[in-house]
Chain length 155, copies 3
């Protein structure tokens, strides 16, 4: 990668992991027209242990935010593949859906979700500005704290 | 606004609020092609206090329905902006995703969701008929009772 | 139906039910361009009693998987209508969103979701390979164990 976005990733000190294999019977992304639908990405990264647990019980909101950032990084690893390794093909992040494993009464999903949203805007600038929903769910696959599902427009 | 839909809103006695600012780092909507993706809208309206709490604990199903209606009204405020103030440009409400903060064992999400669905059909007629999912979640941003995410086709 | 997919359904011994009526004020699907958005389908089938309850409390993961399969069958009943009875028009299953009614601490949503994903791949082959998100929610309409929302590309 030698494009603008890969340079930006390097500036931010982010090395994308190998795209993680789906944890069940599905594919990481599907493209239809210019739209790429990326499967829900969990918040577990090899390099970061703060990806599992329930926010409000096991994790603080700040740790949840870090977990959301992990999900965004896993998302970008698949997006890079969807773009044939050239992230400069990204025209727009259309939407993120952010599921936060939440204790009853924990209502800070917006701040948790910013761990993903802020990173994407930092990397892509205006093209990274997306619509979003963030909700608190009971439990997530592999006990991860955050799952992020996303839709992208590429050229 | 002097179009058909704004007239219908006036007939129904609905005054759309100023589009509420997102509660975190994202934008209220993104358009790609003819599709407009509107961010999850919470159920808090200045004029209505029944927007927060957990349905089945703090709120009755009827209050949950009112909360869903609030989320639909906030949605329309953003949709109006997406249409350059002319809601007559709406060709179709494609889908709603309705998240209801639910006590364990509360399974009346469909009736709660009708607070949003019925209003949209009342306003847009056949163009308002949408696909939908309604689910019960643990907790929502700012302790709101309902969050509605939506997709629209506009001309 | 005499197409390839209807033959495949017969081989698998699957008879699609009458498309179930929506349980509230919405329509079963909306088409925009080549995309068909199918409403969230619950896991209750006349022929199968294992469609209700909370996975991890009332149901085992295997029963949850069966419930997810039920939701997929209900989905196909609507998809068939969207295709004017000819399922050979399906070009791609774009995405599934799988909501699993989950006890706190139940994190096996991926295996549960495979009840839907595997069936769709069995029927459609490569065209059935989809992106996916699976999450654990508090409660679902009519106490069903699984709800599946889906997006399809048709010709």
């Amino acid at each position: 990668m030698t494009g603008q976005i890969s340079t930006r990733l390097a500036e931010l000190g982010i090395e994308l992991p190998q795209a993680p294999a789906p944890v069940a019977a599905y594919v990481p992304y599907v493209q239809t027209g210019n739209l790429v639908f990326i499967s829900g990405q969990i918040s577990i990264l090899d390099s970061n242990e703060i990806g599992t647990g329930v926010v409000g019980n096991d994790l603080t909101p700040e740790q949840g935010q870090q977990a959301a950032r992990n999900s965004a990084i896993n998302t970008l690893a698949h997006l890079r593949n969807a773009c044939g390794s050239d992230l400069d093909k990204v025209r727009r992040c259309v939407s993120l859906r952010i599921y936060v494993a939440s204790a009853p009464g924990f209502t800070g999903q917006p701040a948790v979700g910013n761990g993903a949203s802020d990173l994407i805007v930092e990397i892509f600038g205006d093209a990274g500005k997306h619509s979003r929903a963030a909700v608190g769910v009971t439990a997530l696959p592999l006990n991860c704290a955050v799952e992020v599902e996303s839709l992208w427009e590429i050229s």
